[in-house]
Structures are given as C-alpha cells and as structure tokens.
C-alpha cells in the first residue's frame, strides 16, 4: 500500500500546482495547461509502452504526432471538390503506381536469389517508379495547388466527424510504424534511435512540402471541434442563465443595471472559454483513463510479463520460444498508434494544423524526458512525468522571470545584465528540463514513480 500513497501524493501535488495557476494566473490558462498535460500523458503512455515495456528506443515520436495531426485534416475537413476534379485522377494513379512498385519489388525479392543483379534490378525499379511518379503527379499537383491557393489549394478531407480522426490517426501512425518496424527494428539500440529520429524528420518534411496533401507550411486552420464554439455559447440562453446562477452573489453586489450587464457579459465571455476547455478536458480525461486501464491490464497480464522478460533478457526469452522479432514489431506498432492518437488529439484541441511547428526538440526529446522523469515501465509514472514536465515547460519562463526580477531587484532598470536576463527568460525552460533530466538520471534512475513488479 505504501507505493500507492506515493502515487496519490505525487498526483495531489500536481493538481494543487495547476489549481495554483488557476488562482494566480487564470482558470483559462490552468485548463489549457491541464489539457496539454493530458495530451502529453497519452504520448508518454505510447512512448512508455515502447521503452518501458519492451526497451525499444524510438526517437521518432515527432513523426507519429505529425501523422496523427494529418489524420485530423484528412478526416474532418470538407473535401475540395474542384481540386478532386482537376487533379484527383493523377493522385489516384500515383497511389496505384506506389502499390505496383511495392509489389514488383516484393516479387523480385521473393522470386530471385540474393545476387548483385537482384539488387540492381530492385534499385532500377524504385528509381524508374519515382521518375514515373513525378511525371504522373506533376500536372495534377500543379492543378490542385492552383485551386484557390489562398484558401484551399489541397484535396481536402473526407468531411467526417472529427472524433473519427482520432481512430484514423492511430491507424495511420500504426501502419507507418509497421513499415518502419519492418525496416529498422533489427538495428542495435543506438542505431535504432538515430534511424527513427531521421525517418521522423523525413515524414515531417514530406508533410511540410507536399502542399496538395494538407497545405504544407501554409497551415490548415478552422478545423472542426468536438465541443461547442464560444460564440454560440455566448448567445445561448441556458448558458447565460448558468453563469448568472453561479455568480449571483457577485452580481448582487453591483447596483447599477448597466454595470451589472457589463459585468455579466465579461463573465459570460470568460466562462464560455473555460466551458469549451472543460469539454476538451472531459474528452481527453476519458481517453487517458481508458488507455490507463487497458495498458495497466496488459502490463500485468501474461503478455506484459512476456514483454518484460524479452526486455530484460532477450536470449533467455528467445530460448523459451518467444518470437522476439514479432513481439517487438507489435509493441512498436501499438506504442506508435497511441502517439498518433495523441497527435490527433492535440491538433483537435488547437483547431489548426501547422506542419512547420513539428520540431524534434518539442515533440521527441521533451516526451522522452517525460517518460524518464516520470518512471519507465510504470504507467502512473509516465503520466505523472507528462504532467510534471509539461507544467515545467510552460511555467518555467514565468517562474524564471519572477526569480530574475527578485535577484536583480537591487540593480537599476536599465542595467545591461538585468535587461539581457529578462529578455532570455523564455530559454530557461531548456535549462530546467535539461537539469531535471540529468539530476533524475543520476540520483533516481528509475524515475519519480519507479516500476513495480507484482509477484503473482
């Protein structure tokens, strides 16, 4: 039972901190942080499945996050009919060419023995295929991108409800992980890290530069929402009544009717943004809880024990007849699919898809820091890591600013050192995260909430 006390204490402190932000900054900011904490928690669950359960090092988290985000665009945006008319045929032809290339390559690989000739023919098929692709795609892409380029200029999506895109994002990321896993999982740990890092970079650069797909760096804005819009709330009767009811004591203090109406309007505006964020919080919390229950069950099932056995001693597990390659591939796909889900959730929360913002620092390394700080191999730990690190990532700058002001308060306002430090306050987040990681790795390598083995 002592272990559970630790967990409860750690989570209570975290929630207390978020409430503090609500009191001192604003409830809207606190809820934004909480929502991002929950999204980070989903990502860390995914990364923790790969690293904590199976010891696979995947530095490609950014790529799967971006794919999840792409899924939101592909599923929820209304299709651009004109773009499909002018260039859809070429794109469909390209998909068939890619499928044909894959089948021809597979056929050659299966049919002929390993030889130089085989290698050259595979290479020439791929090269010829790429040239054919470019010739087929070029006119189509040009036509699509010239359809009202300021607003669309891309194929659009399927126009389905946005929540479906979460599942689609997971599927997309999972299927990509299948391909990458097939290619890269045989590599040694540090090679795997580098390879996945670079493959993620390739994925993001494709999403960034193929504008017919999702507008690339021009961004897609105004995505659908699974929650009501603020404007609708502010004009609906029941919501205003609700706000009046909650704030009746405050409103009663104001005497003049004009002032009262003004105060009420301001309250309604504030409350509508809080309400929308609360809706998101509810959705995300549901996802986190479902994932937590499933992963927790999996961890303590025979399957989880098998994964830990493979992680701790591959040779012994292999000698017991476990198929290590297959299990690694499975866990790679599962973890990546969860990360893809998180990516879709994040884009839904933001309401916009900005491929230019996917950077390895923010989407790969920070997530890894979360897993390691929180506790590898323990889902509660990983989620806590997501909360703690995201909180620090956001709040480091204000805290640093406060501390700088405190320590340099004896200096005049125009002092060069003081001005410079205040200007560079946002970068203290890197310092905090880095030092945090180094200290945890050194003095508590299992993380805040260590892995717990239940003997059965």
């Amino acid at each position: 039972m002592r272990n559970y006390k630790n967990v409860i204490a750690a989570y209570s402190i975290m929630i207390f901190l978020i409430i503090l932000v609500g009191i001192f900054q604003s409830w809207s900011i606190a809820l934004t942080i909480l929502n991002y904490c929950l999204i980070s928690a989903v990502m860390t669950i995914g990364a923790n499945i790969q690293w904590g359960y199976a010891g696979l090092i995947n530095f490609g988290i950014m790529g799967y996050t971006a794919l999840g985000g792409l899924a939101v665009v592909l599923v929820s945006v209304e299709p651009v009919k004109k773009a499909w008319q002018v260039g859809g045929l070429n794109i469909l032809a390209c998909i068939w060419i890619i499928v044909a290339i894959i089948f021809v390559v597979k056929f050659i690989l299966n049919r002929f023995n390993k030889s130089k000739l085989r290698n050259y023919s595979v290479a020439s098929v791929i090269l010829g295929g790429i040239i054919l692709l470019r010739i087929t795609a070029a006119p189509g892409i040009e036509a699509i991108e010239s359809v009202d380029p300021a607003k669309t200029g891309f194929l659009g999506g399927m126009g389905l409800p946005v929540l479906l895109s979460w599942i689609f994002g997971a599927l997309l990321a999972g299927s990509l992980a299948f391909v990458i896993g097939k290619i890269a999982l045989g590599l040694r740990a540090d090679y795997l890290a580098i390879a996945t890092l670079l493959i993620a970079e390739i994925i993001v650069s494709i999403i960034k530069h193929e504008e017919w797909l999702a507008r690339g760096v021009k961004n897609v804005i105004g995505l659908k929402r699974p929650a009501p819009y603020e404007i609708d709330l502010q004009t609906s009767e029941w919501f205003i009544n609700l706000v009046t009811k909650f704030n009746s004591s405050k409103l009663n203090l104001i005497n003049s009717i004009v002032d009262k109406q003004e105060a009420l309007n301001q309250m309604v505006i504030d409350a509508s943004s809080v309400y929308v964020k609360l809706c998101f919080t509810g959705l995300f919390l549901t996802v986190v809880i479902i994932l937590l229950i499933v992963t927790q069950k999996a961890l303590y099932s025979p399957w989880g024990r098998k994964m830990r056995a493979i992680r701790d001693n591959e040779e012994a597990a292999s000698a017991m007849g476990k198929n290590i390659v297959k299990e690694h591939l499975l866990i790679f796909i599962l973890g990546s699919a969860i990360v893809g889900l998180a990516g879709a959730m994040m884009v839904t929360n933001d309401g916009l898809f900005t491929p230019g913002s996917y950077r390895p620092m923010r989407y790969t390394f920070v997530i890894w820091v979360m897993v390691i700080v929180g506790g590898t191999g323990n889902n509660f730990g990983a989620i806590l890591g997501g909360f703690v690190v995201w909180f620090l990532w956001v709040e480091a700058a204000p805290i640093a600013l406060f501390l700088i002001n405190l320590f340099t308060s004896h200096l005049p306002e125009t002092n060069a050192v003081r001005v410079h430090l205040i200007e560079s306050a946002p970068y203290f987040r890197f310092l905090v995260i880095g030092m945090g990681l180094l200290l945890i790795m050194r003095y508590r390598p299992q993380g805040i909430i260590p892995e717990k083995i239940i003997k059965q």
């Binding site: 390879a195 890092l197 620092m361 560079s424 880095g434 390598p445």
Partner: protein
Amino acid sequence: MDFLNAIIVLFNFTVIPALAYGSQLALGAIFVTLIYAVLRFANFATGDMMSFGTMFAVILTYYFQSLGFGLGVLPTALLTIPFAILMMILYMLIIDKFVFSYYRLKKSPPVQFAMVSVGVMFVTQALIRIIIGPSDRRFLDGEKFIIKATEFKEMTGLAEGITLKSTQAITIIVTLIVVSIMFWFLNRTKTGTSMRAYSDNEDLALLSGIDPKRVVLITWIIAGILATIGGVLYGLDKSYRPFVYFNNMLPIFAAAIVGGIGNPFGAFLGGYVIAFAEIFVTYAYKRFISYLLPEHLEPDSLLQLLSTDYKFAVSFSILVIVLLIRPSGIFKGKVI
C-alpha cells in the same frame, strides 16, 4: 566550348558548394565517430556542442573587431578559433567530469549515455540561448570572394563563370589541414596508438598499462578542436543561428554512420558522400543539359530529381538504405 561551359556550370553550382558543405559535415562526423569509438555512445549533443564553440568565436570576433584587431583579407574569426577551442575544451571537460564520467565508471549501457547526452543537449541549448540569444548573426569580415563570376568570364571568355567564396576556400583548406594532422596523430604517435588500442579492446588496453583517464581527456580535447573548427567554418560560410546547428546534427549523424561509425576516415569520406548526394539529387540540371544538347532538344522542365525542400530527406534516405544493406557502413567497422 559548350561542353566546357556545361562542366563549369556543374562545377560552380554543385562541386564547390558540395566540397565546402562536405568539409563541414566531415569535421562534425569525425567528432561523432571519435566519441562513439572511444567513449562508446551516440552523442546527441553534437550539434549544440558545435554551436557552443562557435558562440565563443562569434563573441570574441565582435570583441576583436571593437579593439581593431584583424587579419586583413582573412576573417577575424580565424584569429579567435584557438581561444574558442580552449573554452570549448574546458566546457566539455566540465560536462565530462560532472555528467559522463559517473556513467563511464558504472559501465552503463550506451542507451543510458545517449539519454544523458540528450540532457546535456538541453542544457547546452539553454546556455547558448541565454548567453547570445537565438537570432541570426553574421561574423564574416575581410575579403568575400576569391574569384568572382564576372572576372572569371572576362579572363576566359566563357559564357559561364565560377564563383569561389573565400569562406569556401578557407573551409576546404582548413579541413584538409586539421584532418591530416589528426590522422597523423592517431596513426603515428604513441598517444594516438593508445587511443586506438583503447577503442579496439578496453580490457587489453588497460592490461598493457594505458591510462584510461588520459585517453578520455585527449579524446575530449580532439573533439573540442573538431567541434569548434567545424562549427566556426559552417557559421562563416552560412551564418550563425543556434537552431540550425541542432538540425545539422542529423546529416552529421548520417555521414558518420554511412562512413562506418567508429572509423574516422570513413566519417571523413561520409561527410562528402552525404554532401554530394544532397546537392546532386536536388540540383536542377536544366542549364547543364541545355549546353550539351542541340538547341531544338532543350528540355522544358527543370530536370530536378527532387526539390531542394527535400535536401535533408535525401541524406536520411541514404542513411536508411545504408543501415539496411550494410549496417557497418561503407568503410567497414575498423574501430579507429
């Protein structure tokens, strides 16, 4: 004549930039490979360490310029490199003392080292941004061009010209000097031999009386020299922007692995392989071909295999292919 023009076009737009870029990558790749061979981990802080060294060079360049020191036609930055190297080595030794040495004594697995180097990466990035800020800085002074295109055209009477920037020439020359000294050191001196022995077989090296502390110290010193020079040369050629250095780490890793990680000579050539591949695949051959073909056959399209947006993707794809076909790299794993 047309043939000569075609060659010059190709030379001007691909070979010279690729040689300069390849040299910068090569220095970084040797740095990665050396750390990998002797200290046995993939250093994810590579790009930021190069940036850190460059930062000192930039600050000192501004300081020297304000004092009026300079090298005339050569950039002042060359004068500041030795001081920057000293600061860089000091920083690396501090990092090693407080961070890496603990895990080395514990004989931690390479993955743990890699994660620790991610922590170092964060801290280094923070320090750089706090000290100098994230903005774009140019610190090149002195003569900008050695050969200008117009002068070349006048001299030879050809339709195409060659432009040779002084930074490109300096990059190639300095890289060749540094790399030859380093190979001489590794292959001919006693200390270099002891480093190779340590990287080949740690236990045997310890048995024959090689001091591991000294080997590690010298590795960091060489690493500091390579990182600073590589970073300063890149900064002179393009400009100094901290986040660009982080991105450069990725092609540098690609170069080190393509060349066979742990093999400095492989890393040196790997840098050029990556640079030439990136530039040759993304170069538009229209002008080159139009000189070679008769006029009525001139191509309409740019004849570009991939757009320049995919520059990095090319090097990463090469890396993935190499990892698949020959994980030990082109020059097989003779560890330093």
